[in-house]
């Protein structure tokens, strides 16, 4: 049974600081300004240089291709925060590590590592069960982490936050608990073809069991999901719209607030996969009007092994359990059991206590920087990455061209003509210590739609710098030159 929420009253809402204090893992909360993520508007980014303004690339000085922003120079957020991440300061295969695989997983600051170590060193104990000091302290910290998550995404209360193993498990929870209860034959679930497998496969499984149908939104010529057609796809048959917020391959951003509004107009619920947005921008579930939201800790500088499901209280209250066992019960008899209230109802067994506390420390760290500041910096870095990469010959970048209408996240999936992306990624790693991802990025339907088997992907986070991008471009140019001469 969940402990009382006395910790909620102990919180002080402290304005975000403009500097990073990485060594303090306190219960600092950020009073969040209301920043809308309305698609194409209200971003506080600088003007993005257009394609026509880009100059031809020089292999030796990629920085000469684009206009350097002051925000990317010495003293940038990336330069300031890099010392907080010990893993970044190493050599790989004889070269300085350049980590550009953040869409797969992010690196962890010292504050998070210390919080986890401190838990195991000082008060490791099972939660919600014991009455002794260690258990009480562990329970308090665990529930405090839940409250921090709730505040981070502006949920109404901490009971709306369910800790899961990751976003994939969170989606499966909704699929099997909400889906099996609410879906009937001929009901429709609307997705996009750009969804991560974790937001496709669970719905396929549940659709098979319930007789519901899946409908997929395709892309426009700009390689973004065709939001204009989405509204036409919705009908009284639509029971759920499950979409990404930021595409892990296209880097496009969906107007999930508008989508939620359209979905609610036809009586459908909305689930948003926020794995690529929560780590990089302000996400306000109330302002966006979402019914469900999922995210993974490990993509937002937190530990692996823990994720979160946000669900509106009335929805969670009506959902049956997903997994059965201890913690999620009220009473157990031989022939039946009664169940706990959410979120405990959906947290069977001993939870990932250290990981939840680590996630809490992560939120403290990110809040100390400020999500708006992180987002502003990453917009600059995203533009620099895109324009630098586009200046390399024989490169095809997927997703929209950045413009006033289309904003891109700080990642680029790309292919090099006549060179397999796995070969590119291998050479980048082995020769230059540059870590990018190659493959289908858990988006096979999207790759198939684009007519490719695989792609390479460079993805940034706030601790990356302009120099990382420069190193990547230089390495990529060398890689292309190598394979070209080899052939």
């Amino acid at each position: 049974m969940m402990a009382s929420t006395t910790m909620e009253s102990a919180f002080l809402k402290i304005p975000s600081f403009g500097f990073v204090n990485p060594n303090i893992a306190t219960s600092k909360l950020v009073s969040r300004s209301s920043v809308s993520l309305r698609f194409g508007f209200h971003f506080r980014s600088c003007a993005i240089s257009s394609a026509s303004a880009a100059e031809p690339a020089s292999a030796s000085s990629p920085s000469s291709v684009v206009n350097d922003s002051e925000k990317l120079g010495p003293g940038s957020l990336g330069h300031i925060t890099r010392p907080d991440f010990p893993i970044l300061h190493q050599a790989v295969n004889g070269s300085k590590l350049v980590y550009l695989d953040n869409a797969a997983t992010s690196q962890k600051p010292t504050a998070v590592l210390e919080a986890i170590q401190n838990y195991y060193e000082s008060y490791n104990s099972n939660v919600h069960r014991g009455i002794h000091y260690l258990s009480a302290r562990a329970t308090d910290e665990y529930e405090l982490a839940r409250q921090k998550v709730a505040n981070f995404i502006n949920a109404s209360e901490s009971r709306e936050i369910v800790f899961t193993r990751n976003a994939t498990e969170a989606i499966n929870l909704v699929a099997y608990s909400w889906g099996l209860t609410n879906l009937r034959p001929e009901d429709e679930i609307v997705l996009t073809i750009a969804e991560h497998h974790s937001n496709i496969v669970p719905w396929q499984l549940v659709a098979q069991k319930t007789g519901a149908n899946l409908k997929f939104l395709e892309l426009t010529e700009d390689e973004v999901p065709d939001v204009g057609k989405l509204k036409e796809m919705l009908s009284k048959k639509t029971k759920l719209v499950a979409v990404h917020h930021v595409s892990n391959m296209l880097a496009s951003v969906l107007p999930v607030d508008e989508i939620a509004s359209w979905a609610h107009d036809v009586g459908a619920k909305v689930l948003v996969d926020a794995c690529q947005s929560v780590p990089h921008m302000v996400v306000d579930v109330k302002k966006l009007g979402l019914d469900f939201l999922v995210a993974s800790s490990h993509k937002m500088c937190g530990p692996t092994g823990i994720g979160l499901l946000y669900g509106k209280s009335d929805l969670l209250n009506a959902m049956p359990p997903f997994l059965g066992g201890g913690e999620m019960i009220a009473d157990v008899f031989l022939d039946h059991s009664t169940y706990a209230e959410p979120p405990s109802r959906f947290e069977a067994g001993t939870p990932a206590i250290a990981e939840a506390i680590g996630l809490g420390a992560t939120i403290d760290y990110l809040s100390g920087i400020g999500m708006e500041r992180i987002h502003d910096y990453e917009v600059e870095l995203a533009n620099y990455l895109y324009n630098s990469l586009r200046s390399v010959p024989n490169i095809r970048i997927y997703g929209p061209d950045p413009s006033r209408v289309f904003k891109r996240a700080a990642l680029c999936s790309f292919n090099v003509e006549d060179v397999h992306p796995t070969d590119v990624a291998t050479f980048l790693d082995q020769r230059h210590g540059v870590a990018v991802r190659s493959g289908h990025h858990c988006a096979q339907p999207l790759h198939r739609y684009l007519g490719i088997n695989a792609s390479a992907r460079a993805s940034l986070h706030f601790y990356n710098t302009k120099e990382d991008v420069d190193d990547f471009i230089r390495a990529l140019t060398d890689t292309i030159s190598f394979f070209t001469s080899f052939k």
Binding site: T422, D423, Q430, F486
Partner: protein, 285 residues
């Protein structure tokens, strides 16, 4: 001391086949990848007599000419376990006499890659071997031939020839993966099934490029292709063994008149079961 003219099958990653002649031939290898051509003598492989010499690419400073090589010492028993192999490392001018077994080839390949000082050198070596992979017919690039679980596309065709030796054809859309494939073909093409099935992924770990992990992830190409090769090989073995048991080794049927060979296993089994049930059955009693 073995002469360089004798069995160089361990060098076959460099060329698909070497031709046999009464007198050793001198072959000039020209490399688009490395600048200096190399002269050396060749010898025919016992497994593939009909394939022409391939002008492969061979670096002058390659391990095979400047570093210890692998050979099989006929005085030592051949071990199927590459870790306990009787194959040792020798100097450049000591030449093996006998064809290498698959475990010995694995050991040789492991030696070669282990000796490469930098990870990028292993990449380059694989790219070199990729150029030696025999052409793959476009008609073979079908879904049933695809090796599942790889991030790159890999197609594999497996056959068993009349001598019960395994024959493999493989291709990929990635040059590095082609290099992997080329090495695996050299290991297994023309081998007996049991040798193919005896190799473990860990045996190939030394050759892994950029993958210190021995885990079974989808980027571990060695593992995925090896498993596919072995699965398909096993299928061939099972089919052949079943056919052989029915035709080559007819069962002995015991009767009051002694033992005699009669029909096939199933037929004999049926007869025995029927007699035990008290039914009249034609055939030896």
């Amino acid at each position: 001391m073995q002469s360089l003219t004798q069995n160089l099958s361990f060098l076959s990653p460099l060329f698909s086949q070497v031709s046999e002649s009464p007198e050793p031939k001198k072959i000039q290898l020209k490399s688009s990848f490395f600048k200096n051509p190399i002269f050396f003598t060749s010898h025919k492989s016992v497994h593939s007599p009909d394939k022409p010499i391939s002008t492969g690419v061979f670096p002058k400073n390659s391990i095979f000419f400047t570093s210890p090589k692998c050979y099989h010492n006929p005085d030592k028993p051949i071990s199927r376990n590459p870790r306990n192999s009787s194959v040792s490392c020798i100097t450049a001018h000591e030449i093996p006499l006998q064809p290498l077994t698959v475990p010995e080839k694995v050991h040789c390949l492991a030696c070669e890659f282990k000796s490469l000082p930098e990870p990028i050198d292993r990449v380059k070596r694989l790219l070199h071997y990729a150029t030696l992979l025999p052409p793959f017919d476009e008609s073979g690039r079908v879904e049933e031939n695809r090796v599942k679980g790889c991030t790159t596309m890999v197609w594999l065709q497996v056959e068993m020839d009349g001598n019960r030796l395994m024959r493999y054809k493989v291709d990929s859309d990635s040059e590095i993966t082609k290099g992997f494939c080329s090495c695996l073909i050299w290991l297994f093409d023309g081998a007996i099934p049991e040798e193919v099935l005896s190799v473990k992924t860990d045996d190939l770990a030394e050759m892994n490029v950029g993958m210190p992990s021995k885990g079974h992830s989808r980027v571990n190409t060695w593992h995925n292709i090896l498993i596919s090769i072995q699965k398909k090989t096993k299928n061939f073995v099972e089919v052949k063994d079943k056919d052989r048991s029915l035709t080559e080794f007819p069962p002995l049927v015991g009767s009051t008149d002694g033992f005699s060979v009669y029909g096939n296993y199933k037929e004999a089994q049926y007869m025995q079961e029927s007699r035990q049930a008290g039914n009249e059955v034609e055939g030896p009693t």
